[in-house]
């Protein structure tokens, strides 16, 4: 039976606890009384995934069965979540491919010829052929690549269509092929509560003109948190856009959820509770620690990015977007929710090697900020894990390293923008437009494998709520100059970091640590 998540109170019996530290990890002896939030163990995966997909398509929520929506001569677009999901990538066969195969099976039987499969990469980098093949499966790839299978291009003006504006004046502009299709089938992987629902089509197939209405500092400061759609201005905005789209376009949403089985052997000790580590787990830790400490970062990255998670599928739901997403969110919560009593003065977290925006790439300093202060800080419902004015301590080397192909605008953002200010609102006002419309970044986004010029700004906005909420941010083991550029502080050890934190929160703070990943969502009361 799957054990639920829980809050450990560190006592003298507690072994050192594991924290991710970029492309490595570390054991830390936490102060007595520290609370550590552990995610629930992996729920059992569905035994018959293909059967579950078939049932979802036959008995959708709030919609006719898919088969009834398909007819000869129609235009069908299948949009698919991109490389940012799931994390780490899923061991083959990817659930997206399994779903697409069944959709295409029905389309073929219904005589649909005009099919286009689009990776809904929004302003993310284009996926490589190999990455797409992994996501959609070999059979689909061979049948459709490259003519009818490819990436969405948010800068291809000729292939974008403005659908209209919401009552709040938000422009909805999406991929022309999707907009002109008789049916859009969206295939998602809902890894965290932020994903999916009306965020899929308007964002995944949207453009900068459309995204700027919710990917901004004002919205992010009012998304508390963006992992809780019911309290998120970001989701309010995408819902308005999604509803507008639904009035113009038939969208059949298929959402899937995964369990917490994140790390395969020999890295499975990363998801075990430390006091339950067997001798083999301890040996695996020692070997992995030794190897990662000795090997160059480049090699470590190669090894870690090869990790493919042995996820189990916990749910497949299809139909009308909102009806589907309700079930999906319940499935995500079933796997990730942990109840936590009260806020802490200090929140401690280890930042791992991968975020949604650096799969097969480098977690650069801006992405470290986004992952720690954006994603991890926001992994709550109700109240943040740390009180207003509290301190967040993170473990990460924060090297001044960038992937020059994937993240060119990040380099300039770091060197030029952050050198001037780290205030998200000031950055947005002064620099966003310039980066977003820079022809060179647009060229690289469209023709190379670069994230859009505006993407580093969004990463910085993602952390705006945490920056506004926290009194101090300290990176343990971080590169001093790089972290200073980000506007944060560094410490050599956790003890030093706690000493530094005492300037803000006093000498006997309440400390909460997150044991993440595997992913969790704290329900803070």
């Amino acid at each position: 039976m799957t054990r639920p998540g829980f809050v450990l109170e560190v006592d003298e019996r507690t072994p050192p606890l594991l924290f991710h530290h970029g492309e490595g990890f570390r054991l830390e002896k936490l102060p007595l009384g520290t609370r550590v939030v552990y995610p629930p163990e992996a729920l059992p995966g569905l035994r018959d995934v293909d059967g579950a997909i078939g049932r979802a398509l036959e008995e959708p929520r709030g919609s006719e069965p898919l088969r009834a929506l398909l007819r000869p001569g129609m235009k069908l677009t299948i949009a698919v979540d991109d490389i940012s999901l799931p994390l780490p990538p899923m061991r083959a066969p990817d659930i997206r491919g399994r779903v697409i195969e069944q959709v295409l099976e029905q389309a073929a039987r219904s005589g649909v010829d005009d099919v286009r499969i689009t990776m809904a990469n929004s302003l993310h980098r284009r996926m490589t052929a190999k990455e797409i093949e992994h996501a959609v499966g070999e059979r689909v790839f061979r049948s459709f690549w490259p003519e009818a299978l490819g990436n969405h291009d948010a800068e291809d003006r000729a292939n974008l269509v403005e659908i209209g504006s919401t009552d709040q004046g938000e422009v909805v502009e999406i991929n022309r092929r999707a907009a002109e299709s008789d049916l859009v089938v969206y295939v998602n992987i809902n890894l965290v509560a932020m994903d999916g629902g009306h965020k899929s089509v308007p964002v995944g197939l949207g453009s900068y003109r459309s995204l700027r209405h919710h990917h901004n500092v004002h919205t992010m400061l009012r998304s508390r948190s963006y992992m809780d759609p019911s309290a998120s201005a970001l989701h309010d905005s995408t819902t308005r856009m999604g509803r507008l789209l639904a009035n113009h376009l038939k969208i059949f949403t298929i959402e899937t959820t995964l369990n917490n089985d994140t790390f395969p052997k020999p890295f499975d000790f990363l998801q075990k509770r430390e006091w339950e580590w067997s001798v083999a787990d301890q040996a695996a830790y020692l070997a992995a620690k030794r190897a990662t400490d000795r090997a160059p970062a480049e090699l470590n990255r190669k090894v870690f990015h090869r990790i493919k998670a042995p996820y189990g599928v916990t749910g497949v739901t299809a139909g009308e977007t909102e009806a589907v997403h309700e079930v999906t969110l319940a499935n995500v919560h079933r796997q990730q929710l942990v109840e936590v009593d009260g806020q802490a003065d200090v929140l401690v977290a280890g930042v791992p090697y991968v975020s949604p925006y650096n799969v097969n790439s480098i977690l650069n300093p801006i992405l470290v900020t986004c992952l720690g202060l954006g994603y991890f800080f926001n992994m709550y419902r109700g109240k943040p894990l740390v009180r207003p004015g509290g301190v967040m301590i993170m473990f990460h080397p924060v090297r001044r390293e960038f992937h020059s192909v994937h993240h060119p605008s990040y380099i300039d953002f770091f060197e030029e923008v952050l050198a001037e200010t780290t205030d998200p609102a000031a950055i947005e006002a002064k620099f966003e437009e310039q980066f977003a419309t820079d022809p060179w970044y647009v060229h690289l986004y469209r023709n190379s494998y670069a994230y859009h010029g505006v993407h580093p700004f969004y990463m910085w906005y993602w952390a705006a709520h945490a920056m506004d909420h926290l009194g101090d941010v300290i990176f343990v083991g971080g590169d001093r100059r790089t972290v200073a550029r980000l506007g944060f502080r560094t410490a050599s050890t956790l003890g030093d970091a706690l000493d530094m934190a005492s300037e803000t929160v006093g000498s006997s703070p309440r400390i909460t640590a997150m044991r993440c990943p595997p992913l969790m969502l704290a329900e803070v009361r």
Binding site: E9, D11, R13, L27, R273, W275, R290
Partner: protein, 310 residues
């Protein structure tokens, strides 16, 4: 290399290599272990033969090598017929081997020992070793029905049981509260209870020690007067009688038979629960070395005369 050594040391300390791993308290409260280990195999003829060999050839000599054991009151067993429940006070890991090796062979061969499920049956190899050497069966300290059921079955099959009704080793060397499980079992199965007073094991191998202390400390095992439950007796009342009988056996061990029965008649037998004082004083008193047994002197010594006067 220094980094590796440091890491190995961190892991060795953190996971208590060579020692029993511990679970954080907040976890132990949340999820008591519920693993089940079958022990039925340990009562089959082959395992019994192996156990006899181990107990005779290894355990008993080892115990007698490490501590100076005196067993008294074995004649009390002549007044009962198996199956019985042996109830002993519990201050040390020595207690179970002491009790088992003190039993006459005919009794020992038909006796099973209740052992804490969460402690002795946590991993397969410890469970197997405990079951084989002591004919142990798991006792859920949280009071699950499973262990009572198993104990009842064993009694019904004619096995004598050794139970430590305090549920755990005493932290300060004195007798703690008796849980009602043994009393209930005795009443339900109409089985007599034989109290066993173990004295000196706390000094010889206190809680936390992995091996008896050097010096072959004196330890005594005394079988007390069997107690039989009345029909429909309240478990709590019977439990009190068992505890009182054990206290008399302990008193007899500490003084003399005559002293003990006189005090029992007066109702002034020490309960064995120690001083009502600070924890350190209780431990201080309990850890006071026992007098080494010597040959009985032919005439009263001053010390004996003083003790008798007291």
């Amino acid at each position: 290399m220094g980094g590796l050594v440091r890491e190995v040391r961190t892991v060795a300390r953190g996971w208590r290599w060579t020692r029993r791993p511990l679970v954080p308290r907040s976890v132990a409260q949340l999820e008591p272990e519920h693993r089940e280990f079958a022990t039925e195999w340990a009562r089959r003829p082959a395992a019994r033969a192996a156990r006899t060999a181990i107990q005779r050839g290894v355990l008993a000599p080892l115990i007698h090598f490490e501590v100076d054991v005196r067993v008294r009151g074995v004649d009390m067993l002549d007044t009962v017929a198996p199956p019985v429940i042996f109830v002993a006070n519990h201050t040390s890991h020595l207690d179970a081997p002491l009790v088992v090796t003190s039993l006459p062979e005919a009794w020992r061969d038909r006796t099973a020992v209740g052992a804490a499920a969460d402690y002795f049956f946590d991993v397969w190899w410890r469970a197997a070793a405990t079951a084989l050497v002591f004919n142990a069966f798991p006792v859920e300290r949280a009071g699950a029905r499973r262990s009572t059921r198993l104990a009842r079955e064993l009694l019904e099959q004619g096995w004598n049981l050794v139970v430590f009704p305090e549920g755990t080793r005493s932290r300060d060397g004195w007798i703690g509260e008796f849980r009602l499980g043994a009393a209930r079992l005795a009443i339900e199965n109409d089985a007599p209870v034989v109290p066993i007073a173990v004295r000196g094991s706390y000094q010889a191998m206190p809680r936390g020690a992995a091996w008896p202390v050097k010096g072959r400390r004196p330890v005594s095992v005394r079988f007390g007067r069997p107690v039989r439950p009345f029909s429909d007796e309240d478990p709590s009342a019977f439990n009190d009688r068992v505890r009182a009988s054990l206290a008399v056996a302990l008193d007899e061990e500490a003084t003399t038979w005559w002293e003990a029965i006189r005090r029992e008649a007066r109702g002034s037998t020490p309960a064995g629960s120690g001083l009502d004082a600070a924890r350190w004083r209780r431990i201080w008193e309990a850890s006071r070395p026992l007098e080494r047994p010597g040959r009985s002197p032919a005439w009263p010594t001053r010390k004996r005369a003083d003790a008798a006067r007291r």
